[in-house]
């Protein structure tokens, strides 16, 4: 595209600041001893240490996968630290005990852990580096029997639930990064919604990487018991640093009979500078099991950050008549790379899945959609609809689509639609002729393109996502 399109200035990543707190950080390196130390620091029961060690030993036998359409220099797993916690982060009785510096950090990020969030009716669990620094609204939720706390707390308070469900959707042996996570994960969020309870508010986890040279390995486990429903949102940011940092999270969702879980992500990890220096490697395994009859799992993601995103939120449609959904917007600009998509594994009868993927590529970014729709022999009457749209901004970026479809019976219907479009100079000129700036034009065109996905985000986050998109693409077009 013409030079006019490259003329605008990139806005700085506004979350790139570092918080100065004293941290308790394990020395760099990874060994069986590291795993034991993490487990000991967290005062974990024996079953969990055993599980971690099995994961670690398994991980040693695995190879880092390289089938995705991304390139990066080899990661030295011995050069990172696998545990970092703000020193003040002991078990907290209430939010009043949280280090004020941390509270200020979250205020700067637009996440209030104090009064404001109560008003907007969102419960927040804030994860700073490796540990949870505070969970809001706990007592209100407890009245309904809903458990919403840090993973570490769940291990102490509800070990039976953790033991029953941990690894039941993503076993430690699942893949290289899942095994690494299982071995060294330090915290994360945990949620259990009991039978028949509809969680009355949005639950939200906010992840923040602060320390340098620290990998973040959190683990989220959400269980909706029979007839329960919950809507969950995660947000993420990290300081601007010159080195790459590894983020290898695992999220497991379990929906029992007639239960539904809606999981939304607005991912805005630091993406590196315009030349691709620094940024987060976001290698994440997210999977939900629609285990029960007529259960439903819905993923919505807006991926704007990270140097590399490697992520496939998936649904195992085990229960008869269960539903899986995946709505995704993935944006790459500058040197960002994303290889993202979903897997829908149809096992039960009359299961239904929908995939709506919107990929936006700008600058020299490279965006791949990779999706698998697998219908097993017994999944009679299964249906899938996939729509996969790509938008290109400029002519140095790339968009790729890798759909894998396997259908094991002849009563199922699988549809795949794909399109690629380009934001043209004519579209921008048209908007300018109506008085809009180039940036305004782009954000308008892009949010129109992403509308079907944004509609699935909770209201206030939809606005946030839309703004984020505008910021990410600033400077990509003029």
């Amino acid at each position: 595209m013409s030079t006019a399109i490259e003329n605008l200035v990139n806005r700085d990543y506004q979350y790139g600041f570092v918080t100065d707190v004293e941290a308790d950080t394990l020395p760099r390196g990874l060994s069986e001893e590291t795993v034991r130390q993490i487990s000991a620091k967290k005062r974990e029961p024996a079953f969990l240490l055993e599980w971690r060690l099995r994961a670690y030993r398994r991980w040693l036998t695995m190879k880092e996968p390289h089938w995705s359409n991304v390139t990066y220099p080899a990661i030295d797993y011995q050069s990172a630290s696998y545990y970092s916690a703000p020193k003040s982060a002991k078990t907290l009785g209430s939010l009043d005990e949280v280090d004020p510096e941390l509270l200020r950090t979250y205020e700067r990020l637009g996440i209030s852990l104090t009064e404001q969030k109560r008003i907007s009716g969102v419960a927040v669990d804030a994860i700073f580096d490796s540990v949870s620094v505070g969970t809001t609204m706990k007592t209100e939720l407890a009245k309904l029997g809903i458990i919403f706390c840090s993973f570490g707390e769940a291990v102490q308070e509800h070990p039976e639930l953790v033991q029953k469900y941990l690894g039941s959707v993503v076993p430690y042996s699942d893949n290289f990064f899942a095994a690494l996570n299982a071995a060294v994960f330090s915290d994360g969020s945990f949620c259990y919604v009991p039978k028949g309870v509809q969680c009355p508010m949005e639950l939200s986890t906010y992840f923040r990487i602060n320390s340098a040279d620290t990998g973040q390995f959190e683990r989220t486990l959400i269980i909706a018991d029979e007839g329960a429903s919950v809507s969950y949102l995660e947000g993420c940011t990290a300081p601007r640093r010159d080195t790459n940092q590894l983020h290898a999270a695992v999220v497991e969702l379990v929906a029992l009979d007639h239960a539904s879980i809606k999981y939304s992500t607005v991912q805005n990890w630091y993406a590196g500078d315009s030349e691709g220096k620094g940024g987060i490697y976001n290698f994440v395994t997210k999977r939900g099991k629609a285990a029960g009859v007529r259960s439903k799992i819905s993923w919505t993601q807006v991926e704007t950050g990270s140097a590399i995103t490697w992520k496939y939120p998936s649904v195992i449609l085990q229960g008869d008549h269960s539903t899986g959904e995946f709505y995704s917007v993935a944006v790459v600009n500058n040197r960002q790379q994303a290889d993202t998509g979903t897997k829908m594994i149809h096992m039960g009868r009359d299961t239904k899945s929908t995939i709506i993927s919107k990929g936006i590529s700008a600058g020299r970014g490279n965006n791949s959609y990779r999706g698998q729709v697998k219908v097993l022999r017994k999944a009679e009457g299964a249906r899938n609809y996939t729509q996969c749209d790509s938008m290109l901004i400029g002519n140095q970026c790339g968009a790729h689509t890798f759909p894998y479809i396997e259908v094991g019976n002849n009563s199922s219907v699988v549809e795949h639609e794909a399109s690629t479009s380009k934001i043209g100079e004519d579209q921008i000129f048209y908007c300018k002729q109506r008085g809009l700036s180039a940036e305004h034009a782009i954000s308008l065109i892009v949010s129109g393109f992403c509308k079907e996905v944004f509609q699935n985000l909770p209201m206030e986050f939809a606005l946030e996502a839309q703004q984020l998109l505008g910021i990410t693409l600033e400077g990509s077009v003029g």
Binding site: F429, Y430, C431, K432, Q433, G435, L444, F449
Partner: protein, 261 residues
Amino acid sequence: MLEIKDLHAAIGDREILKGISLSVATGEVHAIMGPNGSGKSTLAQVLAGHPGYEVTRGSATYDGEDLLALPPEERAQKGLFLAFQYPVEIPGVTNAYFLRAAFNEIRKSRGQDEIDPMDFRDLVEERLRLVDMDPDMLSRAVNAGFSGGEKKRNEILQMAVLGPRLAILDETDSGLDIDALRVVAHGVNSLRRPDNATIVVTHYQRLLNYIVPDQVHVLAAGRIVRSGGKDLALELEAKGYDWLVDAAPASAPAGVAGAGV
């Protein structure tokens, strides 16, 4: 209001406008006619600031200001509106949203506050009545899936809402059936005021039966070869363009293409 002098414009190495001079005063309607490829649409695009064209010589002032020095969005904010020959589709963005965004940008540029959605709806409904158009247009995505005729009508709707000082209609009549043509012409006529002006770019005389011009200019090979009153359009309808085009020497002196009559 608009003063164009010896305007030359090119795409790459190809010169398309070869010395246009034209003067448009408030309250006037000017028609620019001419055969295909004569530079009519180029003139419209250059005035609006399309980045694909390079002005190589000449000037254009708008209310005394150097129009060509302004970026396209500022020209729009100052009241210049182009009804596109090929309106662009913006899927997923409703007309109402798009129009309010544009309307507010124009207000902001004038130091006025943004209008809230409710007040804006009242304003739009009033303008819709003025141009006799269906409110359903507002909830549809900008031009997406519109027929050719709907797109043209949508341009007039936008024009009605934004209320430009200088409107340039680029072949708004092409591809319209007679009913749509009437709606479009009715819209343009209803928006006519003593303090604004309209330039109608058209290939056919037909539209000028409904929008009566004060002056008609005939463009051929990048120059104005004849200017006259509304009767000139009728003469063209009867005799075609050839007699004028053939009469114009390949390098006519600028005096032949004088502005005004």
